[in-house]
């Protein structure tokens, strides 16, 4: 009897903690968002949607996610395949490639600010190559395309590592026989990659995509450090409403939108990339 209770006693602290600091605030966030003024309703959402920055924030957030997540997946897959062919120094290369794993979006923003600012290293390089005459601005309101590219580059630099680590962990679990069998039947390396490796990696790819997409929707410090308010995204707007406008209701409305989008993205990935039980390794 006593031993049957043990697992529940072991789980209890973490469960209570998550209730207090995850589930309750989750419900509270939703409540805050729908509690406009003194009655329940959509007042906060209306204010959010009527704000000048809202449309931009939605468009910008989705543009970033739609460009950067597939890009990161492609780079990470390429890196993982390169690692397989590396004979010596694999550990060092892997360590170097995973360093950005521990770098926050804020730090990444500051790193790329050092490179892309008016008197930064990119302009120095372009100047030395004779391509520009003097300091150029890339991160202003007048250069939205350059700013967008900068954000994509910085985000790809920072967060590809997490995808890489998940993919490499998955590659290590792949049985060699499948690839060898493909070679026996005369498959080209490309066929082997698309027909054998990719399908077998589906669970890892699914995990990586869920994690990355949720985190990419959440990313905001990088955008603020590079472009200030020139490039609003959903979470940076939530931050501005909370911190500058002191309006928690509208901030919570943004939070609810971000949560719904994240949840929807997760469900889509779970459905589209599901692995039937008989295909499990």
């Amino acid at each position: 009897m006593r031993s049957r209770l043990i697992p529940y006693l072991l789980l209890l602290p973490s469960l209570l903690f998550l209730t207090a600091l995850f589930f309750v605030p989750l419900v509270q966030t939703v409540a805050l968002a729908f509690h406009g003024g003194d009655s329940f309703g959509l007042a906060n959402f209306t204010r959010m949607a009527n704000d000048l920055n809202f449309r931009d924030a939605v468009v910008n957030t989705f543009s970033i996610v739609l460009v950067v997540v597939p890009l990161q997946l492609a780079i990470a897959l390429g890196m993982a395949m390169m690692l397989r062919h590396l004979k010596r120094g694999r550990d060092v290369v892997l360590w170097i490639w995973s360093i950005p794993l521990g770098i926050s979006d804020l730090a990444a923003g500051l790193v790329w600010l050092a490179i892309l600012t008016d008197q930064g290293y990119l302009n120095t390089l372009l100047f030395n190559l004779g391509l520009i005459a003097g300091p150029e601005s890339w991160l202003t309101y007048e250069t939205p395309t350059a700013l967008f590219v900068a954000i994509i580059v910085a985000e790809a630099w920072r967060a590809t590592a997490i995808v890489l680590v998940i993919i490499v962990a998955g590659v290590q679990l792949l049985p060699r026989e499948y690839g060898e069998a493909a070679d026996v039947f005369g498959a080209t390396p490309w066929q082997r990659f698309t027909r054998i490796t990719l399908p077998l990696l589906k669970p890892s790819i699914q995990t990586a995509l869920i994690l990355r997409t949720v985190l990419a929707f959440e990313m905001f410090a990088l955008v603020i450090s590079l472009g200030g308010r020139n490039f609003p995204v959903l979470v940076s707007e939530a931050y501005q409403w909370q911190y500058v406008n002191q309006d928690t209701g509208v901030a919570a409305a943004y939070a609810v939108v971000v949560m719904l989008i994240s949840l929807a993205a997760t469900l889509i990935y779970l459905r589209v990339l599901r692995t039937p039980r008989e295909q499990m390794l």
Binding site: L11, P25, A107, G109, V165, L211, V214, S225
Partner: protein, 267 residues
């Protein structure tokens, strides 16, 4: 060496440079101080890193006091995640019980949500509980972020240790707790240390919740975010560099466990 091999290796080298060169450049900006930041055109190597500029870096006051807060928060988060997560992981690894699958699902569910955003209502709760603007409060929400990870990883760690070891200890008269402390824990320790380091990094890097829940005792990330608009560039670069250094060291420390952790934690 064939041409193809050469192309391949230079590709690998370029990707390494792509990771490392930006860190090098922000380090130049951080230790060079105002002079380097305002120089045009810039040099890609430190010209004269005199003691004076290094001191200027160390004197960026706000950065250092905020760094101390960050360390305090991250250490607390690390401790909470382990104390709450390891027992749960042990239960998942060792016991068959009703509700285990549900619990796992709940843990995974937290991943579908941007947890940092939940700081919005917590700001109100924390003011009432006198946790607002205190490292402890920030550490609590960071633990909510790190805990699911700690649970799943420690579950896989304990699973990898044969049950028989423990049973042998019981036969020799050890209590369950003693068997755990003397037999299982030493074996799991390296993995647990890696998990702890990860909790530290998660907390160290979190921006949104830290910025919303503090005013005067800001963590480094929150401090940098709020002074972005007004502080000079060399302060920002110094802050960014200080943010990066521990993560480079930590990733080096846990590199052996990195892949095992992610491989298993995501099944």
């Amino acid at each position: 060496m064939t041409v193809r091999r050469g192309i391949f290796l230079s590709g690998v080298a370029m990707l390494c440079a792509w990771t490392l060169v930006p860190i090098w450049l922000v380090a130049l900006g951080a230790v060079g101080g105002r002079d380097v930041v305002n120089a045009w055109p810039k040099t890609f190597f430190p010209g004269s890193t005199s003691l004076a500029t290094l001191r200027a870096f160390l004197d960026v006051q706000g950065v250092w006091s905020a760094t101390l807060v960050s360390v305090e928060v991250a250490v607390l988060c690390m401790a909470f995640s382990l104390l709450l997560g390891a027992p749960a992981g042990y239960a998942l690894a060792r016991y068959n019980f009703r509700g285990a699958t549900t619990y796992r699902l709940l843990i995974l569910l937290t991943r579908a949500f941007p947890v940092g955003i939940l700081a919005l209502p917590l700001a109100i709760t924390f003011i009432r509980l006198d946790l607002y603007d205190r490292p402890l409060g920030v550490a609590l929400i960071h633990t909510a972020l790190a805990l699911p990870f700690a649970v799943l990883v420690s579950a896989s760690l304990f699973q990898a240790i044969p049950r028989e070891f423990e049973e042998a200890a019981w036969v020799f008269g050890c209590s369950r707790l003693r068997a755990f402390l003397r037999v299982v824990l030493p074996l799991a320790l390296p993995g647990i240390a890696a998990t702890a380091i990860f909790a530290f990094v998660i907390s160290w890097n979190e921006v949104f919740a830290a910025a919303v829940l503090t005013v005067r005792h800001r963590t480094l990330t929150a401090y940098l975010l709020t002074v972005l608009a007004e502080s000079p560039l060399h302060v920002q670069f110094a802050g960014g560099f200080v943010l990066i250094v521990p993560s480079v060291v930590f990733i080096f420390l846990v590199r052996k466990h990195l892949f095992a952790m992610w491989g298993i934690a995501n099944r």
